[in-house]
């Protein structure tokens, strides 16, 4: 195969309008998710992300039945799950993780039942697994609007949100409205999930909201850098995931999330300070130091 053929093969996906659109939209979704993932993992809300994403299913089916934009139904049920979790937790002795588990599986199951009743719709299965290649114009508009709103909100509130994640007691003591910040973060979480459903679907969306932030967290101790690295790894995963899915004819959402997982594994092994190799080396250095200290002491004796 000569160079020209190779080039033609490699650029083939971009001859198709739907591939170009899918790549651009997935990059946007990747950016929004990556930014939010930094807050989600620092706040310890990964399970909450999983809960909200699964809970939107009945909302999506309902929106389909009522013929309204699915984002509205998804958002309403996303918030409903959060409110129910808070309500049940405050009124029982059951721990939060259990409440989350009960609430989101129940809502998800309800969605499955509803889905099976309106089985004719192929459209709905795309909500479960994502269908970025078949994204419609109106869905793109919706994604851009939600993504833009989310990014702007986080940008404006970033300092307060970060303090809220780090030290809510201090935030409250200096007069910040932590209840507002709690719901603001949950709202952008729900919105981001709605936007990301297009790309990877309900089941995998939590990966988009957790993995890029986790990867970046292993690579740096500075928040700004963490944001940047998170966005870079996420956008690369989205773009190449979409690209690869064309060649292997595989599920796009799956390809994106697998790539994110690979980035995480690489960071886990090779991260300069918090990676496995660096940690091992540090431990060995420490042992050597202790030994030589011991040797000096023994010599003194």
């Amino acid at each position: 195969m000569d160079f020209a053929t190779l080039l033609t093969t490699l650029t083939a996906p971009f001859q198709y309008d739907f591939m170009v659109r899918a790549t651009l939209v997935s990059a946007l979704i990747g950016t929004v998710c990556a930014v939010l993932s930094c807050f989600v993992i620092l706040k310890g809300w990964s399970l909450m992300g999983d809960a909200v994403s699964h809970s939107v299913l009945p909302g999506v089916v309902l929106a389909y039945i009522l013929n309204i934009p699915f984002a509205i139904g998804a958002f309403v049920f996303g918030l409903l799950s959060v409110v129910s979790i808070g309500f049940i937790k405050s009124r029982t002795r059951i721990k939060e993780d259990t409440v989350i588990g009960v609430v989101f599986t129940t809502l998800f199951a309800l969605g499955i039942v509803m889905m099976s009743r309106v089985s004719s719709s192929v459209h709905l299965s795309h909500i479960l697994f994502g269908d970025i290649l078949g994204i419609s114009d109106s869905d793109i508009v919706q994604t851009v609007l939600i993504g833009g709103f989310t990014l702007i909100s986080i940008f404006i509130l970033r300092k307060d949100l970060l303090l809220f994640c780090f030290d809510p007691t201090h935030a409250r003591s200096i007069g910040l409205n932590t209840t507002f910040l709690y719901y603001a973060l949950l709202t952008v979480l729900a919105l981001t999930i709605v936007a990301a459903l297009q790309a990877v679907g309900i089941i995998l969306v939590v990966a988009m909201l957790v993995t890029p932030g986790a990867t970046a967290y292993l690579l740096t101790d500075k928040f700004e850098r963490m944001l940047l690295l998170s966005v870079v790894s996420s956008v690369l995963s989205c773009v190449f995931g979409t690209y690869i899915s064309y060649f292997i004819d595989g599920a796009t959402g799956g390809c994106i999330v697998v790539l994110q997982g690979i980035f995480f594994i690489l960071a886990f092994i090779f991260a300069p300070k918090h990676g496995v190799i660096a940690k091992n080396r540090e431990r060995q250095r420490q042992q050597l130091e202790d030994r030589s200290e011991f040797a000096v002491q023994s010599a003194d004796d």
Binding site: L42, S90, I156, K159, D160, L162, L163, C165, F166, D167, T169, H170, A171, R172, S173, I174, G175, L176, Y217, T220, D221, K222, F223, M226
Partner: protein
């Protein structure tokens, strides 16, 4: 049964009162009392040691002073303002105990100190020259300038305490609440922190310090508040209140203390 025995008013009472907790009772959501009939006063520019077992009501008292909990009865006044109003103005600075802080969080010492200024900034938290100046001075005051850009997890135990003390200073509140400032530090570090706290007191700062460390209390606390069974048993001058008999009442022969 009246356990509330008020001894003489502290010697510092000639100065203005920074904090007044007057017969305060606080209830949990389910109605049980978390704090009952607690009274104590803190003069400006003094250090008060808050001594009691875990679950005796110390953290409830802190939360009430910070305005997080509304008293069922009684009043809390910070510089003559209600605790809610004081909270809005950021008058109570809280220095958390080490266990409460996520030391892996990607923030530097400088980031933490600037967080003390948020209450003084506009809603976008834009940093002004005055904020930078005060944050810088606060860092200098606790001797942490050279560690400004360290991620907080890279600090030693004593440096960690000083970083959060700098944040409380930068907040420019009227009183500071310190939660177990000597937890997990060695004796020489503790001595350094005590020296620093005494210096701050001499500069006019008012501090309420919860501590388990009885050895050091006598040496640097002006007043002591003894807390047990969800009430302030006694408060007043250290030399009058901090007696072996009183400590027996707080620590010895106490019935079971339900977790707070």
């Amino acid at each position: 049964m009246n356990q509330q025995i008020q001894t003489q008013i502290p010697t510092t009472s000639a100065r203005s009162v920074a904090l007044e907790v007057d017969h305060v009772s606080v209830a949990y959501a389910e109605g049980k009392l978390a704090l009952r009939n607690a009274t104590l006063k803190l003069a400006s520019g003094s250090i008060c040691g808050l001594i009691g077992l875990n679950g005796s009501g110390k953290s409830t008292l802190f939360k009430t002073i910070m305005g997080f909990l509304t008293p069922l009865e009684g009043t809390v006044l910070v510089e003559k303002l209600s605790s809610r109003e004081a909270q809005k103005q950021g008058l109570v600075a809280y220095v958390p105990q080490s266990e409460e802080v996520d030391w892996n969080f990607p923030v530097s010492v400088w980031d933490v100190v600037l967080q003390g200024r948020y209450g003084h900034m506009n809603w976008l938290r834009q940093t002004k020259a005055r904020d930078l100046e005060i944050a810088k001075q606060s860092l200098e005051r606790v001797g942490m300038t050279e560690f400004k850009y360290r991620q907080i997890g890279e600090l030693s135990g004593g440096q960690r305490k000083r970083a959060f003390l700098a944040r409380a200073l930068a907040q420019e509140g009227k009183i500071m609440l310190l939660d177990e400032p000597f937890g997990g530090v060695d004796a020489s570090t503790e001595a350094t922190i005590i020296k620093l706290l005494s210096e701050l007191r001499d500069l006019g700062h008012t501090m309420l310090i919860s501590t388990h460390d009885l050895d050091s209390v006598g040496s640097f606390c002006d007043t002591v508040a003894l807390i047990a069974n969800r009430t302030v048993l006694e408060y007043g001058d250290t030399k009058t209140v901090f007696t072996p008999e009183n400590l027996m009442r707080v620590f010895g022969g106490a019935p079971s203390h339900p977790k707070n």
